[in-house]
């Protein structure tokens, strides 16, 4: 005889997600779980309720109510399932069901239970490093019912400082600049971020411990050069040329020709002995200078470039000095969330 696969699929869908690290020790509760696994819902209900009358740990009590919730869901008794899940949420507000492993009926009953209980869940404080006054700590949590939510930071020399007060429902995101009312950064130490939700006579609060440490803000080193830019030589040796010789010939030629041209016709041909002697010296000097390695000449473009580069570096160093002065007056804040001591009530 072939058995239908549907009961096995139903069991698999109804099974809650396993909670690592904790196990059920109570024998009655284990029997109830076994009955549920065998799809014996009636027996699971009886033994589950019996287990609740016994002495259970918080985890086991939540597990017992959860089992009842799943069982009622399997028996299509939604209202009772919701009631059972409400107890689960009250005992373990952070409890979530795995949507991939939970039946839609149980999942919807759990969601309905969440809306009927006032809890603050999934309080998270971001681990961040920032300069005091230039950043903020991200705080997130979920409120299950519309309520007045007051968020405070408590501890150390701070006393109690209110961060936020608002009417909220669902996901809430806050940004806390970690500053005192006078603008100073919060002193280093351990603090608690406390979120309290109040609606009518009902209230719920949860907290998250954080550690705030102070550090010096890194200063910037002064620049000696700009990356990718190097100084250029301010003089350059021009290539050898015949220019000195040519100019010496031109100057001497002008002197000789000028002497001949300007000399008076009444006085006969001009004497070129003196001009020739000095001119020969000039031409000889020009010839030697042509053969010699030319003297380095100032490279105007390079000089202007280096001047520009020096001005840029000086300007940047001035900015860095001002920035460092400002940074030495600042505090680097490091905010780290600590392990949660327990859930809220």
């Amino acid at each position: 005889m072939r058995r239908s696969p549907w009961p096995l699929i139903a069991v698999a869908l109804l099974l809650p997600g396993a909670v690592p690290g904790q196990t059920v020790q109570n024998a009655t509760l284990r029997r109830a779980q076994q009955s549920f696994d065998n799809l014996d819902y009636r027996q699971a209900l009886i033994t589950g309720k019996a287990a609740l009358l016994e002495r259970l740990t918080g985890f086991e009590r939540a597990r017992a109510y959860e089992l009842l919730g799943f069982t009622y869901s399997g028996m299509d008794s939604i209202l009772r399932a919701v009631d059972a899940f409400k107890q689960v949420v009250l005992i373990e507000p952070e409890r979530d069901l795995d949507p991939n492993r939970t039946s839609p009926k149980a999942l919807s009953a759990f969601q309905v239970a969440l809306t009927q209980v006032l809890v603050v869940r999934q309080l998270r404080v971001d681990s961040v490093d920032f300069i005091g006054g230039q950043g903020a700590v991200g705080i997130r949590f979920t409120v299950t019912q519309p309520s007045r939510v007051i968020t405070r930071v408590v501890g150390g020399s701070l006393g109690s400082v209110r961060i936020d007060s608002t009417v909220a429902n669902g996901q809430v995101n806050l940004r806390w600049p970690a500053r005192l009312p006078n603008g100073d950064p919060v002193p280093a130490g351990n603090y608690n971020v406390v979120v309290e939700a109040v609606v009518g006579q009902n209230s719920f609060s949860t907290s998250q411990s954080i550690r705030i440490t102070h550090g010096a803000v890194d200063t910037l080193p002064h620049l000696t050069s700009l990356p990718g830019y190097t100084y250029l030589p301010e003089t350059e040796v021009p290539p050898k040329s015949w220019r000195p010789m040519g100019l010496a010939l031109v100057y001497t030629g002008v002197a000789l020709a000028g002497t001949s041209a300007l000399s008076s016709g009444d006085l006969g041909s001009a004497s070129l002995r003196e001009a020739g002697t000095v001119g020969a010296g000039v031409v000889l000097a020009g010839f030697i200078m042509t053969l010699k390695k030319p003297a380095p000449q100032p490279a105007r473009g390079n000089i202007l470039y280096n001047q520009l580069l020096r001005e840029q570096i000086a300007r940047r160093n001035t900015e860095i000095a001002q920035e460092n002065t400002r940074r030495r007056q600042q505090v680097a804040l490091s905010v780290v969330p600590l392990a949660r001591p327990g859930s809220g009530r």
């Binding site: 002197a255 006969g268 001009a275």
Partner: protein, 224 residues
């Protein structure tokens, strides 16, 4: 005795300057030294033709864009064989130039020239104001050359006569300096050409009596 003492003083001063610490000579703006002078002098006609040589001294001072040259020389001019002149004479010349750097290679010059002939009646003594321009060029490290030209204004002659302001008296020159011993020693060579179209009038009309001199100066100077 006095001239011997003066020579010793000049030699001692030159030696002192040569061994002066180089780091104290970074701003060498003054140079002074002796020169050998040789020249060619003609006057009135090609027959009055003299050549000669002598000694001189020159000093240069530079300050920012300004510089000044002072040159003094004494030449003994002797008549050339192809001329009709019979007596030699001494020409003592004193030149002063003040120069202002304008731009590029160009400088402007003003100054005066004074030349005295001895005996007085063998040649004309001349005094005039000079103005012109100089083009200088750096041939290489420590080697400079310059070309200059100008006019001589208001020339006065011991024998009288005039020269027109424009084109009547001209001056042309070529110069060179070569630095040695890290600029402490300076070899100089200068050429000066003067042509003065002098005119006289004894009542029978204007007569051309030109004067022309070519002067070469080769010397050494100590800079400090």
């Amino acid at each position: 005795m006095n001239s011997r003492l003066g020579g010793l003083t000049v030699s001692a001063l030159a030696t002192l300057l040569l061994f002066y610490p180089p780091n104290r000579l970074d701003a060498q703006h003054f140079a002074i030294g002796p020169q050998v002078v040789f020249g060619d002098y003609r006057e009135v006609t090609a027959n009055l033709h003299y050549r000669g040589g002598g000694l001189g001294a020159a000093a240069t001072v530079t300050w920012k864009k300004f510089s000044a040259d002072v040159a003094a020389s004494k030449i003994k001019y002797k008549p050339e064989k192809d001329g009709t002149a019979t007596r030699e004479f001494d020409a003592s010349e004193f030149d002063v130039r003040l120069r202002y750097y304008i731009s590029g290679p160009v400088s402007a010059e003003v100054g005066f020239v004074n030349r005295k002939a001895d005996p007085e009646f063998e040649a004309q003594s001349v005094g005039a104001v000079a103005a012109g321009a100089r083009m200088a060029y750096l041939l290489g490290p420590g080697v400079r050359m310059g070309l200059y030209g100008g006019l001589l204004f208001g020339p006065k002659f011991s024998g009288g006569g005039t020269a027109s302001a424009l084109g009547g008296a001209l001056e042309l020159g070529l110069g060179m300096t070569v630095d040695a011993l890290r600029g402490r020693l300076r070899f100089t060579g200068d050429y000066d050409f003067q042509r003065i179209t002098r005119k006289t009038n004894d009542g029978s009309g204007a007569v051309n009596v030109p004067i022309q001199q070519s002067l070469g100066r080769v010397g050494i100077a100590v800079a400090f």
